[in-house]
Structures are given as structure tokens and as C-alpha cells.
Amino acid sequence: MHRYSWFLLVAVAASACCCAQERPYFVTYSHEMEEPGNLEIEMYNAVGKPLAGNRFIGTTTEFEYGAKAWWTTEFYLDGQVTWHDSTIFTGYRWENRFRPLLREHRINPVIYVEFENTSADKSLREVVGHDGRPDFLDSNAEARADKERELELKLILGSNFRGWNLSENFIAEKNLKNEPWEFGYALAASRPLRLAASAHKCTFCPEKFQAGVEMYGGLGDWHSFGTRLTSHYLGPAINWTSPNGFTLSFSPQFGLNDYSIPCLYRFGIQYEIEQIVNRFRRGE
């Protein structure tokens, strides 16, 4: 039965090829929602080496579903590998994004609500509070003892203008234990290398590439708000959508202060299955 399920999933994926127009961001969310009925499967990785620490790969696998045109829900599974230490599953997250204004405006707000249950996470999907290099120096055994059950809220603001996308995220996160609210930010801009589509099918046309820049970091917590004693990163980002629907993304990101990891290499792969529920209903 299990083998049959995998076969069915692969068959559906193969027959549901589509070309998503994804932004090349790894941390920042844009206001663009998943199309209703579509399921996007994404895998993001962050490779880094903190000073005086071991190299690691933080991995996130995401299942993003467009429940409505104004509501996207997403489930994450996180894990990490640390050199000279171990490979562990670090937890899960469930997020929902809601678009309160049903038309396109100059600035489009999206409300983001997430519950996460993680420990020893190294995927760096956001930086909040005083997150930084010291968090990466503990062994996995020590870090796993610190369970993080957190509620995360984001205000996502996004604009599309003359082919450019500008996105700003303001993050507030609360550990459900008795800890203060922590804050963070993420900013990004990107644009396809060409806006118009080609008149013929092609693999490496400029419109299949999107390039941009991304910056994010912490803003301290309720008792010590600010940009000190927290980490900040900046880097270019690029992605390419292949004709069979896979999107590959890459971004080298650089720590902007001593509290940050000096260099992070992020890479990801995404695949979108269109109208997945209808496909199962129709037995395709």
C-alpha cells in the first residue's frame, strides 16, 4: 500500500507539470499567495560554519497549499546535520497566511500566523530576538534539551511595480513558555531578468530567471529592542524555473556583524502540483 501511494504521488507530479513564477527569497515572504488548489513542495537548505563551531546543513521541507485565493496554509518538517556531531529531526511548523484586502494595491498586507515546535533548529528561516552565532556552538544533544514551542506572527507587506517585487516582513515571536516577545525583520527585492515571455518554448530564456537581494536580522526582544547583540545577513539571490516545472534557487548570504555566521550558502528546489485535489477526484 505504502509503495502504491508513492507511485501515485510520483504519477500525479509527473502529469501535473507547471511553471511556478516564484520569488528567489529564502527568508522573506512576498504578498503573493499559493494559487487555490495547488500544492507546492519545497526543500530549502542553509549551509554555514560559525566561527569556532562545526559546519552544518539546516534543511526544511515544506508543503504549501492554496486553500483559497486569500488563504495559504503550509506545513514544514525541519532537520539538520552537524559535522562531527549528528543528524537529527528538529521539529515541525504549521503556518497560515491570510490576505485581508482582496484586490491588488500599491502596498498589499498579508497576516502570517505560525505555530512551531522545534529544538536545535539550524534552518535559519528567520532571525529574531538575539539569535546569533552562540546558538550554533552547543552540541546537538545540549541544544535538543531546549524545546521551542513558539507562536510567530508576521506582517507581510508586498508591492509589485514595473516587474519589481518589493517585500517587507515584520516579525514578532513568542515562546509559549514565560519568555518575552522577540522581534525581527526581513526585506527583499527581485525582478525577472526579462518581463515579456518568449514566443517559443525555451529552457534558459531570461524570463525563466529571477534575481534579487535579501536582507534580514533580529530586532531584540521586549526588554532590549534594537539591532545590537543580534545577527543580520545580506546577500543576492537568484532562481531558475525549468521547463518541467522545477524551480532551483541559490543565495550566498553574508553576516553583517560579529554576532552573525560569516557566510551562509542557501539553496532550494521547488515543485508545484496544480489542482491536486481535483486530480485525485478525477483519478488522473
Binding site: 507547471c18 513564477q21 485565493a69 482582496l102 517585487n165 518581463l195 515579456a196 515571455a197 517559443h200 518554448k201
Partner: protein, 128 residues
Amino acid sequence: MKLKRAWLVIFTMLTLAVLAFGVADGSWMRHVPAKDHDRKNPYEGQADAVAAGRLVFEDHCSKCHGENAEGTKKRPSLRSARVQQEATEGDLHWLLVNGNMARGMPSWSKLGDPQIWQAIRYVKSLGQ
């Protein structure tokens, strides 16, 4: 007294919600501003734009509206008189940028204006 007021507030909010979604129903054409209605397609008369628009349509629209834009069980045909004759290209551009989210049509502003206009060229070419 407090209970009555609570019910009144709930009733008012539900009425407003129904009205809000009613306004955003399939009668989207009534909400297109005049300046958008009158917009001309910059790709008008360009044969390449129809071919490019067909590829954009196949990538982003065909799974909901059908491979030949004939519509599917839940999504409308784009070969209808409404799309082919009543709606101007400016109206369709407005719809693609804003979507009709209460009815399941997402905003396609992420495609950018050139691809939106190309897709419209292709859709309009189906009625010629």
C-alpha cells in the same frame, strides 16, 4: 440587554461580510475603473504576442480554465461572449492584476504587465 446587543453586532458583521463577498462576485466588470476599461494592449497586432501568450496561458491558466480555454467544472470558459465580446482587453488586464479572490481567481500581478498583456492577446485571439 447585553445578549441582544451581542446578537445585533454579530448579525451586522455577518451582513457586512455577505455584502463584501457579494460585491466581489462574478460581476467584476462593474468594478473596473474607466481608465482601466479604456486601456489598450501594447501588443495589439503582434503575432508573436499571441504565441507568447499561449505559452503563458499553458503555464498558468490552463489547469483551471481548460487546455483550450473551454472552462472546467468549476471555472468559467474564456471563449464566452462575456470574455470575447463584452470585456475589453483593459477589463481583462484589471481582472488579472486584481483577481476575483472571493470567487477563487487569484491576482496574477506577479507575472508583470508584459506577460499579462500577452496572455490577453492569446485569449482574445480565440474569438477571432
